[in-house]
């Protein structure tokens, strides 16, 4: 039985790769070929779908918009969560447990519940259709997550580290940035990974809060699908390109993913 153990993960990975393979296969076909013939690989190999995306600004701007608000959100979330997570991991204070649970409840709020109020709220403060609006709205679920993960990592660092530093005459600020932050660098990396991930894949809020100037690539795709007939090849190419940023990010954190899940209690 041990001999065939590798079969399970292998079959699973094949199952995971099949739809991705199909998407890539479609992206190199012309729309006519997709509709008229069924084939496991492109009969008439074409890159015109990709050329269209890289030359048409409504397409490539979608990527730039998505990446912009995702990066904004990651920076805001981690920056705000760092001190908070430190407080939760080191101190007891009035209402700390309730506050922690309240934060988590926001990770549990269905975005569909918030879509309409967000739209009205961000419109009323004149932030509608800006990158910052999407970045801020994604804080709703990313900040609780960031606090949760970082708190896990910080709690694993013994308190003696803080105390020794103070005895050595470090001020809090110097200790925090010179000693503490480098100690939990892996944890910060993991946190950024998850913030990036959840902001990158979310669409409902991003779509609701944007019209043209900050429209995410995912919204460009759905709108194209419904308006200009059904350009499957183009849709497939755009979809394939959205996989790439994720793949790059995974590559960088591959050694920490499993550990991060466990320690950070994601």
């Amino acid at each position: 039985m041990k001999k065939y153990k590798w079969l399970v993960p292998t079959l699973y990975i094949i199952f995971l790769m099949l739809p991705i393979y199909w998407l890539i296969n479609m992206s190199f076909k012309t729309t006519t070929e997709i509709i008229n013939t069924y084939s496991l690989w492109p009969q008439k190999f074409t890159t015109e779908n990709y050329v269209k995306i890289f030359t048409d600004s409504t397409w490539y701007m979608g990527y730039i918009n998505s990446i912009t608000y995702t990066v904004f959100n990651t920076v805001i979330s981690v920056a705000a969560a760092l001190p908070a997570a430190y407080a939760f991991s080191r101190y007891k204070f009035l209402g700390d447990k309730h506050l922690f649970f309240w934060l988590l409840t926001n990770r549990m709020a269905p975005p569909a519940v918030f879509a309409l109020p967000f739209f009205q709220f961000y419109s009323s403060v004149n932030l509608f259709d800006t990158h910052i609006a999407v970045a801020l709205s994604h804080c709703l679920f990313n900040i609780p997550l960031a606090v949760w993960i970082l708190e896990g990592f910080m709690s694993a660092v013994p308190k003696e580290l803080d105390e020794t530093a103070y005895v050595d005459g470090y001020s809090f600020g110097r200790f925090f940035f010179k000693i503490f932050v480098p100690t939990i660098a892996a944890g910060i990396g993991i946190t950024m990974f998850f913030c990036f991930m959840f902001s990158w894949v979310e669409l409902l809020l991003a779509k609701t809060l944007t019209a043209t100037a900050a429209k995410p690539i995912a919204a460009t795709m759905t709108r194209t699908a419904s308006t200009s007939g059904y350009e499957l090849g183009l849709l497939a190419a755009a979809g394939t390109l959205t996989i790439i940023p994720g793949a790059i990010v995974i590559y960088f954190v591959k050694n920490y993913i499993a550990k991060g899940f466990a320690m950070g209690r994601v």
Binding site: P83, A87, Y91, A115
Partner: protein
């Protein structure tokens, strides 16, 4: 860890508190506000009391989508949790296989949700999709856009594809934290593979598994984008889960009052289940 009592710690929490309150409290209050009122447009509102809540709680439409939602979430958990554990148990523990498995398995997690839906749509189309074409070639009468059974099958398969990896990664992390000494002891005692799993691995994975179930419950209960792109809630309303139904009501028909009442009931259900889980988790942690 023994924590010191320090009320000044609140200063550290203020940025997070402000940002989240800004994002959660204000919109939530808007929803609460709508849920008790009737709107006539032009910002004219009239007090309606609990009428919308009664209407939603008694409506067959809500019962139906709630039923679909629970069925879906239940099936998802039933498949993904055991499957995830099985895959984590059989994954390589060292060598080149580890990064390969981790990278490839994480891929679905980082694909935007509507792309997941679009990808599965193309994949499952009965005439030109790989899955649909293969199933039809094998003699099954498969068409997910017209047959409710097939639509359910495709939606569940898509979610298994999308999220099982999360369970795998969590279980794998849990397994990795078991010291080799435990396995050696089991071997000396002549424990069977099942006994090793039941009495060593499973208890050690308890914490991460609770978390996996919690996360999978939450996210599958809130599922919107993927089935929306894949089936649009159809055929008919057969795959219209809670979020899909809610958005249809709020943004499609602009029934703000009932939609807000439904939002609150929806949120309350998620909160209740999560609160139970959270307490279970904290209890686990206190024990270990």
């Amino acid at each position: 860890m023994n924590k010191t009592i320090n009320q000044k710690a609140w200063y550290f929490v203020i940025p997070v508190f402000v940002l989240v309150a800004f994002n959660a409290a204000i919109p939530l209050m808007t929803v609460v506000n709508y849920s008790f009122q009737e709107t006539f447009g032009n910002n004219v509102f009239a007090w309606e009391g609990t009428r919308w809540f009664k209407q939603i709680l008694l409506s067959e439409r809500f019962h139906a989508s709630l039923g679909r939602q629970f069925t879906f979430t239940f099936i998802i958990l039933l498949i993904q949790i055991p499957l995830g554990i099985a895959i984590a148990l059989t994954m390589p523990k060292k060598g080149w296989g580890v990064p390969v498995c981790l990278i490839l398995m994480s891929m679905p997690l980082l694909i935007p949700w509507n792309v997941v839906g679009a990808m599965w749509n193309i994949f499952a189309l009965p005439d030109i999709g790989f899955l649909g074409h293969s199933l039809n070639a094998m003699g099954f009468d498969y068409n997910f856009t017209q047959q409710p059974g097939d639509a359910w099958f495709t939606t569940i398969l898509m979610d298994v594809w999308h999220w099982t990896s999360l369970v795998v990664l969590l279980s794998y992390a849990g397994l990795n934290s078991i010291q080799p000494a435990y396995y050696q002891a089991a071997e000396i005692d002549g424990a069977s593979r099942w006994a090793t799993f039941r009495y060593i691995e499973l208890p050690k994975m308890k914490k991460v598994l609770t978390l996996a179930i919690l996360l999978r419950f939450m996210d599958s209960f809130m599922i919107y984008t993927e089935p929306f792109v894949l089936t649009g809630g159809g055929p008919g309303n057969t795959t219209a889960f809670l979020s899909i139904d809610l958005v249809k009501m709020a943004l499609g028909q602009f029934d703000l009052g009932p939609a807000a009442a439904m939002s609150l009931i929806y949120f309350f259900i998620v909160l209740l289940v999560c609160w139970v889980f959270y307490n279970l988790m904290m209890k686990n942690e206190a024990q270990s």
